[in-house]
Amino acid sequence: MSEPAPTAVDTAARPAHPLRALVLAGGLTFEREVSLSSGGQVMEALHRARVDAELHDADAELLPGLSAHPADAVFIALHGATGEDGALRAVLDLAGVPYVGSPAAACRLAWDKPAAKSVVRGAGLATPDWVALPHSTFRELGAGAVLDLIVARLGLPLMVKPASGGSALGAQKVSRVEDLPAAMVSSFAYGDTVLVERFIEGVELALSVVDLGEGPEALPAVEIAPESGVFDYTSRYTPGLTEYHAPARVPDDVAARAAEMALAAHRALGLADLSRTDAIVTPDGEVHFLEVNVSPGLTETSMFPMALEAAGYELGDVLTRLLTHRAGSTR
């Protein structure tokens, strides 16, 4: 591997010994399996890059372990609540432990999909119209009346998904109004607030952003073409069920607008180091923001590593640079 280029920010803080990284994976969330898979890929890449890395779950032994054997920087390969809602990062901040990725407050914002949509819309980006409501609203005002309003206002088809969480768990496209109540029930099993969004037909793109010390850089868009037509959990993590194109087969001007959108969302939400924005391109070439991930999947079928590869980067090299950049610097 090539040695990471030192930057002005981290030179003073850089540890004198070889970099020692702690990779966090697992967690007690719906996405534990995905996280363990991401963690495995990260560990392999770091070992190939000859980084001294250790894998750890986010459990009761984490903080005592970090205190006894401090790491230079932590890489968070946790997906779902613990790793992405900012809570764990806030604790690492309290402990003065450096980590790669977005700060706690930005994660909290990105984790809350409706809140993130408001912010990016406020920044002038297109995002499908939506409404996000807790179960109590439907219970108190009458589910029929509220759903009636939603359908009247947003039309069909709709996307129904938990207001937070990744990997498309609990997300459903609803084309027939009679399927809507059941979709609400199954989405509410994942959390107390459900986001109902106007469904936008188009090409699905994963837009990765990485910041190697010189500012956020948009990586080539990855186009997602699931065999089933729906990019659900199974299509995401079963090799062969989805065709990916990196870079995406879209005109140059669309690719450029998509890249601008990903960078704008990354900045508007205050994200750092790495992110992945999911977007839809309509046939007229407009790019719509769907959601953003502060801890993008790094499994063998994940889009962030594909984007890195399409840009000519090595995963291990990028991870090493991100870790080196953060080593010694707390926030």
Binding site: F30, E33, R108, P114, A115, V131, G144, T193, R198
Partner: protein, 425 residues
């Protein structure tokens, strides 16, 4: 929700915070581990020339003799070691039997619900599974006869009935004495082969084992046995007891698959049966499981919301629970994961998509206190899900005032609302 999503949700089970009522893992730590350890050590140091060597495809003769002693406890007194084929767990036995008998498209009759590991084997063999109803007394003979007649009328070739007569997995129920007789009579009448899968038969809490189906008929019943629940599942030692003509085919099939079952684990089981108080050990197991069963049933009785029903097993590992009307155990699973309790959704125990309102609870592994905590969590999950259904089930979408496709109305309406986003943005 697809099976890959269920598997994903299951991955949290390995975390100690989660009470798992999902897996069917026997309580192996109740074994005298030191004694078993030194016994296995001696088998290697003293008899390595045999125990680390290839063995016979049919299995070690000494073990097959001892297997006949074990089966005698359930009334099978006429079995000869020559009719026994040792397998890598009874799962391999089931796979061998299926390979020998099933051609793609053949029909297998199985209880509704049925053991998920069997359904996997049958699916791999491209068999069609037809479920036969059961109740608290096990498989219903009238339903079996109806199924046989329906298959006959449809020209379907029924190759065998697959049944778990004792402490059924997942239903927890046991086939009663009169029904055993009735089913054997039907087998005679309809020229039906029965695969009797009996891993739990010696784990009864209340009474002596009921005579096996195989004890009542030796040419229409192929019997599958296992040491996984009476000794150790990690050793993977099971067996098939089959008439000689079938045995020959099973041996050829097992030789093609694995050459021979592992010698060391066969010697370990034989030595265990020879030198350790294994009947007393089974009593230790059953006492432990009885205590856990009681913790499960008592907590369910005290905590589950009205409309929930469940079976009351008098042996084995499992309670089969039916949720209040309209609830779906699979769709409810994320809520259970968030509440740190795990179960197996019922749908996996059917070949035809039934079973959404059921779940299997295993009490074999967690300590009673953990079971009580797990059931407490589960009860809250069911209550929350009931509330959700109360909110949405009565919605009549037919009365909605305006249903139009996206984009057909006013083009941009802005966010209809975005709950707390105004505060946070």
């Amino acid at each position: 929700m697809k099976s890959s999503e269920i598997r994903a949700l299951f991955s949290v089970v390995s975390r100690p915070e989660v009470v798992s009522l999902a897996g069917g893992m026997p309580a192996v730590t109740a074994l005298p581990l030191d004694a078993v350890g030194s016994m296995i050590g001696d088998l290697v140091s003293g008899m390595g020339a045999q125990t680390l060597q290839y063995g016979s495809g049919q299995g070690d003769p000494r073990l097959r003799e001892r297997i006949c002693d074990v089966m005698a406890l359930e009334g099978i007194t006429d079995a000869s070691p020559s009719e026994v084929v040792v397998t890598v767990g009874s799962q391999q036995g089931l796979d061998l039997v299926t390979r020998v008998f099933i051609d793609p498209g053949d029909v297998i009759l199985a209880e509704a619900p049925s053991y998920v590991g069997a359904l996997g084997v049958f699916q791999a063999a491209q068999a069609r599974v037809r479920h036969v109803a059961m109740d608290d007394d096990g498989l219903i003979p009238e339903a079996l006869e109806e199924a046989l007649q329906a298959c006959r009328a449809a020209g379907d070739r029924v190759k065998f009935l697959y049944t778990v007569p004792n402490f059924h997995n997942p239903a927890g129920v046991t086939l009663t004495e009169p029904r055993r007789e009735a089913i054997i009579a039907l087998a005679e009448q309809y020229d039906l082969l029965i695969i009797e899968d009996n891993p739990y038969g010696l784990l009864g809490f209340e009474h002596e084992p009921i005579r096996a189906l195989r004890a009542r008929n030796d040419d229409r019943v192929i019997y599958l046995g296992s040491f996984s629940k009476t000794f150790s599942p990690g050793l993977r030692v099971g067996w098939v007891l089959a008439p000689l003509a079938v045995r020959e085919k099973l041996v050829l099939a097992t030789e093609a698959q694995v050459l021979c079952p592992p010698s060391l684990t066969q010697y370990a089981v034989a030595r265990y049966l020879d030198t350790q108080p294994w009947r007393e050990q089974i009593k230790i197991f059953t006492e432990l499981y009885r205590e856990r069963r009681d913790a499960t049933l008592d907590s369910l009785q005290a905590l589950m919301p009205a409309g929930t029903t469940w079976t009351r097993p008098d042996g084995g590992f499992y309670v089969w629970l039916k949720l209040p009307h309209g609830l779906d155990a699979k769709l409810m699973q994320p809520r259970a994961v968030a509440a740190h309790v795990a179960y197996v959704p019922g749908i996996g125990f059917y070949a035809d998509g039934q079973g959404r309102e059921y779940m299997r609870l295993s009490y074999c592994y967690p300590e009673p206190d953990r079971i009580r905590e797990g059931v407490r969590r589960l009860a809250r999950v069911v209550e929350a899900e009931l509330e959700l259904h109360e909110t949405f089930d009565a919605v009549d979408t037919g009365t909605f005032t305006a249903v139009r496709p996206s984009g057909a109305g006013p083009s941009i309406i802005g966010p209809a609302n975005s709950d707390r986003s105004g505060d946070q943005a």
